[in-house]
Amino acid sequence: MPTITMNVNGAPVSVEVENRTVLSSALREGLGMTGTHIGCDTSQCGACVVHVNGKAVKSCTIFALEADGADVETIEGQAHADGSLNVLQQAFQDHHGLQCGFCTPGMIMSAAALLKENPKPTEAEIRDYLEGNICRCTGYQGIVDAIMAASGQSTAIAAE
């Protein structure tokens, strides 16, 4: 089986993969990094989103071999070095942007990519950008509110 090397959250790692192994499996099974989730088998749900060389990617849609030599960022690398939540993560907690937490890693990674591209998105732009991330729990309200807040904008509707 081939071995690939990647920089995952800034640390060099190598892992054995099959030709057919997708990046999400390499992370979860190969490296034991189970923060990245698998919610579907048709690349629809977005629970598996990570960043590869700075771009948001559904990690179930690329082969691990394609990520050989890449910089990969996952949910496990998002908090500050001291373990405290980063601005986006903190906004998700403050605005109840998660319930079961299963979509959350993908949501955070997608939202981070959005804010990198567009630091002050409108609500409509947020909803549009998240089209590829399904959340079954929140109705997206808390997620949209959190991303608005993380980008320094007041939220549409406060929780009562």
């Binding site: 923060g35 088998d41 079961c100 299963f102 955070i108």
Partner: protein
């Protein structure tokens, strides 16, 4: 009172931190040493006779360690239905056996007939492809009316019919209701379909079986909303493993919405296989398997009649429903279309006559069972759609016709014509709040603006009531339940003063780890962060019934409350001993035990320590330790209620419906954590809007699931939904549980579908289209056809 974060405080959820940092531990995140992987062979036909299943080639594939077939489980028990329903003529319901693996026949696409265990998942999946199954495809039973009319094509040959039961509620009211309808000045009739939904919790089901030959202990790690119930079903009915030799552990769970209440055959299989192979066996559902094998929801075909006076006073509701149960009876499938549906058919109203007839039908489709709301969305949809139609026919405003018939605040407790006793509520106050919050007075002006933009605007109104806090055991016992529906909690005050609370409820997104400590901390006057919830593991928690039916806080929270009361009582004894006073002279407030009329006091923490270092205890009067358990059985259901408003714009050229606003005004009784409650309602609203506009589990006449993937089944995405306005300030406390809570998990999914459809019909009517009803999902195609039909 807790210093901060007690009852009523919008405390941020503590569990969020691990979920936000990728440290949540869901079932699939566990992989014990030496794990082997399981993949299932599933039927590609809806109805088929199994001639033979040849696994020889599969067994010889690389990495394969075992192959199982239906006959390997022929001798074990079936997975039972939890409620025995009796038909109108007194005959018991039909209960065909639900096997671990299909045997003799396959009965729906996705019905598992064999399982392969291999060293890797890929090897297991490859070997499944090598199984040679000789299955004769038979005609499929799909359409419910056809299934009842035709006894020649059967889902279960051995029972000779496709009908599970023919239930009447309340049968004694049948004649009176018929008479009332015959003599009524006005009768409105509506035929409607409550569309089949696929729950689609984002985390697929997953089960890991383990066996320890040294001790004979089994362990099942699985996605379950109720680990004790799953253990009981496996032990008492399916595999016969002694309960005390089986641990069921459900770790973090990525949503459930009902679909993870039930025990499924895959759980039994991985346990049996783990023992046989003496190594862990893991199965993780793919999304494709989830579509085909998770229990679906809804799927009713209904005719409802509303008889009323010309002034809109309700005289009678009569409902005839066919409810799909799919190919096998899932655990709650028989109670969902009956007692969770028929008993709600009086709604929020003082109607004197209610009769409901439900025929449940076996079909060659995935089992259908409780999905968020479970029976109550079906009831609310039928009622609130026919009321809207009646209002239109009689020329009465939809708000007014509802107000005219509301149970009034001074009528509580109110015995409904459908057999329930509503303990508290104020439906007029909810409607008042809605009128303000949704600015109903401004609707006409918004209509004008929409018209200028070439859009048809409509307003939908709805009132709902639900029966939650499931459920009083004595009542459900009379109604056919085979289980009790109490819950349980153990509060353990540790010697150093921090507290572990073991609960039967099991959070799968509801935030129990945050909310339950708020209750305990409030009662004890301590920091909520010193209270920790333990849940999901049968080896650690008392026997409780889990999380569904908006029951966790109302039932399990009440058990926590009762156990904490016992803690206070015992701690008072210890404190009295410590300060040498009589227990009746000791008061407990703000975390301190104080002797009346003196300045003698002792803190809760000192009492906790003393409880475990009882050097000077009067041992005949006070036991050491500070740990109490309470089982709480509710005296009644709880009755959350609400009034919802939705405004839509319909594009007359395309039929596309856009939701402009959705306002939910709910009464959940007392609220422990408003942040969590708001989120629960928003999530429910999204699922209800999904049902109304997008989602549909569609089988073709051959039993193929056409909407069997996330590409075909339209899940609500962020850009499908509006801002969701939620208000729960118009509350009346539940009168019969100690926290005064009613439950909030399902309300949004119950109240929103008729609100949305009422709004769409209103928009079309205002636009000059004489459209009385459109079945859900109200897709652009259906709307366009209705406008142009």
């Amino acid at each position: 009172m807790a210093a901060d974060g007690g009852m009523g405080h919008a405390t941020k959820r503590r569990e969020d931190v691990r979920f936000l940092t990728g440290r949540g531990k869901y079932t699939d995140d566990y992989t014990p040493a030496k794990t082997s992987y399981c993949a299932f062979a599933r039927s590609t036909v809806a109805n088929g006779k199994i001639n033979s299943i040849d696994t020889t080639a599969a067994a010889e594939m690389p990495g394969v360690v075992a192959v199982f077939k239906g006959e390997d489980f022929a001798e074990v028990g079936g997975n039972p239905a939890g409620w025995a329903i009796v038909s109108r003529d007194g005959t018991p319901m039909q209960e065909p056996k639900r096997p671990v693996l299909a045997h003799g026949k396959v009965r729906h696409v996705g019905d598992a007939y064999a399982a392969v265990i291999a060293e890797t998942l890929e090897q297991a999946m490859d070997a499944v492809e090598a199984i040679d199954a000789d299955i004769d495809e038979l005609d499929a039973v799909i359409d419910m009316a056809g299934a009842l009319a035709n006894d020649n094509t059967l889902v279960h040959d051995e029972i000779g019919t496709n009908m599970c039961f023919d239930w009447g509620w309340i049968e004694d009211n049948r004649a009176a209701t018929e008479e009332a309808i015959k003599n009524a000045p006005h009768v409105t009739t509506l035929k409607l379909v409550n569309n089949r939904l696929v729950p689609n919790a984002l985390e697929p089901r997953c089960s890991i079986g383990e066996y320890d030959p040294g001790t004979g202990d089994y362990r099942l790690t699985t996605t379950s909303q109720n680990p004790h119930l799953t253990r009981l079903l496996i032990s008492a009915f399916v595999l016969g493993i002694a309960e005390n030799k089986l641990t069921v552990h459900s770790p973090d769970m990525g949503g459930g919405f009902g679909s993870k209440i039930y025990h499924y055959g895959e759980e039994a299989l991985v346990l049996a296989a783990a023992k046989k192979l003496n190594r862990p066996v893991k199965w993780t559902s793919t999304r494709t398997e989830a579509f085909l094998s998770d229990a679906h929801g809804r799927d009713h075909v209904t005719k409802i009649e509303l008889a009323c006076e010309k002034d809109g006073t309700f005289i009678a509701f009569r409902t005839e429903t066919m409810a799909n149960v799919g190919a096998y009876l899932s655990n709650f499938s028989t109670v969902t279309p009956t007692f969770l549906h028929g008993t709600l058919m009086a709604g929020n109203y003082t109607v004197p006559n209610v009769y409901v007839n439900v025929k449940t039908v076996f079909t060659n489709t995935a089992p259908v069972d409780a999905y968020r709301g479970a029976g109550r969305p079906e009831a609310t949809f039928s009622l609130e759609r026919v009321i809207d139609k009646a209002a239109r026919e009689l020329g009465i405003n939809p708000v007014e016709i509802r107000r005219k018939n509301f149970v009034k605040p001074d009528q509580f407790p109110y015995a409904s014509a459908a057999g329930l006793e509503y303990d508290s509520g104020n439906y007029d106050a909810l409607m008042d709040g809605l009128e303000m919050r949704a600015d109903l007075a401004g609707f006409e002006a918004r209509c004008t603006t929409s018209a200028k933009n070439g859009k048809l605007r409509g307003l939908g109104i709805n009132s709902y009531i639900e029966a939650c806090g499931i459920a009083p055991s004595n009542l459900v016992g009379v109604l056919g339940s085979r289980i009790g529906l109490y819950d349980a909690a153990t509060v353990r005050v540790n010697a150093t003063g921090n507290i572990s609370v073991m609960v039967g409820a099991h959070s799968h997104g509801q935030g129990h780890e945050t909310a339950f400590p708020q209750v305990v901390a409030d009662m004890l006057g301590i920091d909520p962060m010193s209270v920790e919830i333990v849940h999901g593991d049968t080896s650690k928690i008392p026997f409780g019934m889990g999380t569904y039916g908006s029951r966790s806080l109302a039932v399990c929270g009440s058990a926590v409350f009762r156990a904490t009361e016992k803690i206070i009582k015992k701690a008072t004894l210890i404190a009295a001993h410590m300060v040498e006073a009589k227990p009746e002279d000791v008061n407990f407030t703000d975390g301190e035990f104080a002797v009346k009329g003196t300045n003698k006091k002792v803190s809760f923490g000192d009492v906790a320590l003393k409880a475990y270092i009882p050097h000077d205890f009067p041992i005949e009067a006070i036991e050491p330790g500070l740990e109490e358990t309470a089982f709480y059985d509710p005296a009644n259901f709880t009755y959350p209620a609400g009034a919802y408003a939705c405004e839509v714009e319909v594009d007359p050229d395309t039929g596309k419906v856009e939701i402009c606003s959705m306002v939910a005004m709910d009464d959940f009784g007392n609220v422990v954590n408003p942040l969590i409650v708001t989120g629960q309602v928003q999530g429910g609203l999204a699922q209800g809007i999904g049902q109304a506009l997008l989602e549909h589990g569609v089988y073709d006449e051959n039993g193929q699931l056409l909407s069997g993937s996330l590409m075909d089944y339209a899940m609500p995405r962020a850009d499908d939904l509006p801002n969701l306005v939620v208000d729960h300030s118009n509350a009346t406390a539940c009168t019969h549980n100690p926290i005064g809570v009613k439950g909030c998990g399902e309300a949004g999914a119950i109240g929103s579908p008729p609100t949305v459809v009422n709004a769409v019909i209103d928009a079309l009517q205002r636009g000059g289209h004489d459209v009385e009803h459109i079945d859900m999902p109200v897709s652009p195609g259906r709307v366009w056809a209705a406008m142009n039909g």
